[in-house]
Subunit: 273 residues, 3 copies
């Protein structure tokens, strides 16, 4: 029961999901922050999914029941957006659509912290954050310095496990090494990726969106978390071979999300069970 | 009276408008969706126009009377933005400025659908959308799956003709083949362009903005629709010679909007009357 | 007392600040316009700072006391954002954090003009604008045509001096030649840079953000204004050697903001005291 899957199996499963995603082109309703709307949409398009951003509360309620999946990212939350997110989450749950919570900069800031703590109990399929955010969302003391993760991913392992236990969601903690955690499953580490991924805004937020796209293709959210981390981090490796500075890396990463496939994942993937 | 213009004449007219645009640098007031603000502004700058985004209702009213033209794109509409758009449209009309309606994802979503149906009766100079959107705005049954046009452009021909008749606007339906429709004018098809244009967010929305820029330079909105389609689609052809993946294509398209000129339009334009 | 510093000293000081910035990675709270959020964040990341955008009023108040510096850019101002900016400015002032005012398109538009006139009396460390904006903010008659600076930078010199006198802020006027003005200091001109910088949206707005980042590293805001202008304009020179059209220039400028260093500033800087 504990998932005796090996690294190679996780990688092959991720490759199959990526192939499947390009056949299905899932429509992802992104309620995300103002800074990354365009890059998130372009990452989804590059990887093979279809993005849509619908901020009005009533329209968000309507659309969440029609879209394949929903992303809720609190990075530039305001009161009207919080209301719309609540409506969309309830609607997605009602329609049986998976949804992903990205608790950007949760910790010291009041509106997003109370909202994320409320939403995490509404059955997200996955939660994605950096170490600081996952630590804060689990109720541990956070550094509060915003989007920069200062806590090491390793320190977030315990918090992620508690959060997975409490919410039932799979938890993807991203950083120099990504970890995927779910109740009753082994902690999986994915160590691909480039430091340039933190020199461009929106890479982490786009991972949340890719989580949502992949969540439409499997019932195993632990595998979805692993696949998301692998796809983005292997694309990061491929982009870092083309570009050494942040502007051109940002573009190369979009090209790499288009180019990455099952074969690249198998050739490059570094997964430790 | 019915426009016996030939393909070559439409292309030469588009080239003349593009040259004229670069002399006039029209200032386009873009009330557009959150995902594409930056790319729209960069497309306008690349082609030779000047963008400005003014969301506050009172400021939008003031600015619409001063700017050369107005774009209204309902892609991420909210109630406050709907109010500001109404004020801006009335102000543009009062000042004799042309304005363009882009009914993004109109159909199943309530706020945008009622707003677009209200605004289409306020004398837009042009309406731009994909086939699904034009079909929905004409009151036909739409697919409602959002920004992805599932209906073929051909099927939108009848809807576009009805919409042109009802509103007095020229209608540009974009897709693998673009068509330009206006009351009492022949249906013109423009078949340049690259599939990569749908792998990048904001290309269609930027076409709406270029419609607005070109609408300041002619009284013949049918020719403006043809010129807009030609400029973007020929730039798409040029960009596709430089880039084969979506990230680098997005940038190459901006470069191509800067490089495209009357000569390129004549050499490459595929227009069928 | 009048600052007998020579050109070379300003350039060396700018180089030292840039080196220092990369050690400190100051966290800049950007309350900026919707068009440039992503490019501003990417410019800050490229140059070595950390961006965060927090729009909610209460969260903005909280965050402005924690972040290293605050940027207030009124380019797409709305009433809720004006309220949040007031709260953030008061909080930054209370916590002793420097803040920068960018009065985008101030002049003919009512909300931004009254807000900027209110905020300029709340002790900004720096004010950055193009010639038209600085002229308008100083209370002179402005052209009102929006973000395009039609008045020459030279004509803005008197307005900038009056504004510096009235507010106590250093004033950076950007254009083909940038000028840095502060009370009791000589007017400094920086004449690096490329015309392509005006063919891409957000370069001026990103300068405001870099002002804020550098303001955390010195008590001399006049030198910060010079350093900001130098870093961006020398990066512009470097980018113009790599790219000749606006799309690729936009990306090359991000790469150049990563590559520019004290050595490049000394080799390329054109500063006139």
């Amino acid at each position: 029961m504990m998932g005796m899957k090996k690294s190679r199996e996780f990688i092959e499963e991720a490759g199959a999901m990526l192939t499947h995603l390009r056949e299905e082109e899932p429509l992802v309703h992104c309620m995300t922050n103002d800074v990354v709307t365009s890059y998130t949409a372009n990452c989804l398009l590059a990887v093979g999914a279809a993005p849509a951003m619908i901020p009005d509360k009533e329209e968000a309620r309507q659309f969440a029941a029609v879209a394949s999946a929903l992303l809720v990212n609190v990075g530039t939350i305001t009161e009207p957006q919080a209301e719309a997110m609540r409506a969309a989450v309830d609607s997605a749950n009602g329609a049986g659509r998976p949804w992903v919570l990205d608790p950007v900069a949760v910790g010291a800031l009041s509106l997003r912290t109370s909202l994320a703590n409320e939403l995490k109990m509404k059955k997200p399929a996955l939660i994605r954050g950096n170490a600081s955010e996952i630590i804060a969302l689990a109720g541990f003391k956070a550094s509060g310095r915003g989007v920069d993760s200062t806590a090491a991913v390793d320190e977030a392992r315990e918090a992620a496990s508690m959060l997975a236990e409490e919410t039932g969601a799979a938890v993807l903690v991203t950083g120099p090494v990504d970890i995927a955690v779910a109740k009753g499953k082994p902690v999986i580490s994915i160590s691909n990726g480039s430091p340039l991924m933190t020199r461009v805004t929106g890479v982490g937020c786009a991972q949340g969106a890719i989580c949502a796209a992949l969540a439409t293709l499997s019932d195993d959210m632990h595998s979805v978390a692993v696949a998301t981390a692998l796809v983005m981090a292997v694309a990061g490796d491929m982009a870092a071979e083309k570009a050494t500075r942040p502007g051109s890396f940002q573009i190369a990463l979009l090209d790499a999300l288009d180019a990455v496939d099952a074969e690249e994942l198998i050739a490059r993937g570094k997964v430790a069970v």
